[in-house]
Each structure stands twice: as structure tokens, then as C-alpha cells.
Symmetry: C2
Subunit: 201 residues, 2 copies
């Protein structure tokens, strides 16, 4: 929590909470005003309209993890280390922001073009180096033959999916919130191990 607690900051905090919980279409300006403890008119005074406010929140949510993840992919470390650090850091970020993935994926599917445009202007994916590392290690016979793209998708899938499927997984396996949390924590080391076991010769 910041010392500075201006109206604008209160609005952003409230809007973040409401938009992430209900999505662009489900959220009501009144909900956000209530959450912020201010008047509805203030929202328009500061952000003009709902669309602009949403855009602000979405961009902020997206930037809360994208640059960090992106830099990890571009780091100068060997493949196994990179897989470990990526999974560890990514899951840490997701634990801190468990509802962001479904929020982002939802918007991604609602307006793919707008979304992609936003990503590429705010720093395009730096996945190239990782793909080349995988390819090089395959050629050097350090790991089994595998498509770099497939491997990358496997890694991201295993990190992200549990967060978007949480209620279903909890129901299927009878996990309460604490147990779910423990299970996800474990994945920080289990996913790298699973991947490395698979590709090691």
C-alpha cells in the first residue's frame, strides 16, 4: 500500500478488482464507484468513459507480468536453467495474480486484433533466443529431438492452465484453497523436472 492515496489511485485499485473479477462486460461503473467509496461521476471525470478505464486496467494488468516473463526468455543462461527460472518466476507471478490469466485470455479472445496490437507495441515477445537454444541443444545432441515451439507451448501450458481451471481442478480432486496453493507451489519445481526428464538423453 502506498502512502499517497489519491482519488485516481482509489479508482484504479477498485477498477482493477472489479474488472478482473467480472470482465469488461460484466463490470458495472456503479460497482467500481462503490468499491472505491466514491461517486460514479468521478469515474467519468478522471477517465472519461468505461472503455478508457478498462483499457487502463487491462494494460496495467498485462504489463504486471509481460515484461518480466519476456526478459526471462531472453536471458543469457543455459536451457535447463532457463526452464527452471521461467517456471519458477512465472508461477510466482501467477500466485500473486491468480485471476489475471483468465481476465487476459478472455480479452484476448474477445478482441484478438486489438490485443495483439497492444502486445507488440508494448514489447514484442522475445521468444526467439529460447527457440534457438532448444534447436542448438537438439543439434548438439544434448537433448532429444523436439520441436522448439511444441516444447515452449508445453511449458507455458503447464504453468498457466491450473490457474484458469482452478475451480474445476479443486472440484475434481477435492482440494480446498490451501491444498490448491500447495499443489501450485510444488509445480514451480515439478514442471521443470517433468520437462527435463522428458528431453534429457
Amino acid at each position: 500500500m502506498k502512502k499517497q492515496d489519491t482519488t485516481e489511485e482509489k479508482i484504479i485499485a477498485a477498477a482493477k478488482k472489479v474488472f478482473i473479477a467480472k470482465g469488461m462486460m460484466g463490470a458495472r461503473m456503479q460497482d467500481i464507484a462503490d468499491e472505491a467509496g466514491i461517486n460514479k461521476a468521478m469515474l467519468h471525470y478522471y477517465f472519461r468513459n468505461k472503455e478508457k478505464l478498462f483499457d487502463k486496467i487491462f494494460t496495467e494488468a498485462f504489463l504486471s507480468f509481460w515484461p518480466k516473463i519476456n526478459d526471462l526468455l531472453d536471458a543469457d543462461i543455459n536451457l535447463f536453467q532457463k526452464i527452471e527460472s521461467f517456471c519458477h518466476s512465472y508461477i510466482d507471478v501467477l500466485i500473486e495474480n491468480p485471476y489475471v490469466p483468465i481476465f487476459v485470455l478472455n480479452e484476448l479472445n474477445r478482441q484478438p486484433a486489438v490485443f495483439i496490437q497492444k502486445i507488440f507495441t508494448s514489447g514484442p515477445p522475445k521468444v526467439g533466443k529460447l527457440l534457438r537454444q532448444i534447436e542448438a541443444d537438439v543439434k548438439a545432441d544434448k537433448i532429444k529431438a523436439i520441436s522448439p515451439v511444441q516444447l515452449f507451448i508445453n511449458m507455458v501450458s503447464m504453468c498457466v492452465f491450473p490457474f484458469v481451471g482452478k475451480p474445476m481442478l479443486q472440484a475434481a480432486f477435492g482440494m480446498n484453497d490451501l491444498q490448491f496453493r500447495k499443489m501450485v507451489e510444488l509445480r514451480k519445481t515439478e514442471i521443470p523436472r517433468f520437462i527435463i526428464d522428458s528431453i534429457s538423453k
Copy 2:
């Protein structure tokens, strides 16, 4: 396409398309009426209100894959065969219904309790046998030690995630629709191979 093309069927087809594309909150009754080429009042004549219409569509979408997947998990085949058949069949279903996962996950996160209730009444997850198979194979030293739950989550994650993250993956790797399709097709065999490589001794 059926020969029988009653108004009710036209409504259901239109509602499915619109709801899956825009979700419960984003969809408009007018959109559905337009898509069906009929009048808005007809929607209420046949389904009373939006909620009931949505429920119909959601249940139908959910049942379009749930029972099939569920039965696969419960089949009497060995572990490796089960992993192969599950990934193959699941991805086949997903290719046929690529927008269903984000639709379902969205609803899942919007109203977890309602959703879970619905699942359990329409046939609870039959994941038990698979988990016991994994456990048994670990004990019998047929595969490496791994948590059955973690392994299951890995498998489902790798199958489903590409479909919810499609636009992002296409952008990141510069894939057009055909290339994406090929990539996903490949995963029907790549995911089982990846998993089996990982857990084999």
C-alpha cells in the same frame, strides 16, 4: 446439417454461436435473433428468458465433450495407452469445438459454485481410476515417481491451453490458421510422447 430446420433449432444454433463468441454477459438477445434470422420476441416465446436460453446452450456445449472425455479416463486399458487415447480424442474434440474451452472456463470462473453443481449432477469426474493406475505403476517401478494429480494436470494443461491461448501463440510464432491447425494436430502424438518420455524409466 439436419433436414428438420425448425425455429427452435435455428434459435439454438444461433444462440450457440453468439454465446460462445461473446459469453453470457457480452451476448445480446438481438444478436441472437439476427443470427437466427427471426424476431427477438421468438426467443422469449421459446425459452422464456436469456438465462434459460444460456443455460440450455451451456449445458449442451459442456455435454458435447464431458461424457466422452470422462469415459476415456475410466477405460480398462494400460496407462500409456490411456494417455495416448486421451490426448488424441480430447484434441480431436477441441479441434471440432475450438471456442468451447474459453467459453466454459469463463463461465466456470464467473459462477464456480453453479458450474460445479452442474458438472457433478451431469456425471462427476471419473478420474479415480487413472490416478490409481499411475500410483500402481509408480509402486511397481514401471514409471518414475510422480504425483498422479500433477501428472494429470500436466496432461490436461498441454491439451487445452493452446486453444484458449490461440491468438497469442499465433502472434508470437507468426502462425496463420492453417499452421496453427497443423501444430495442434501434431500435439495429438507429441504430448503423449513428451509425457511418456518424461515418466519412463
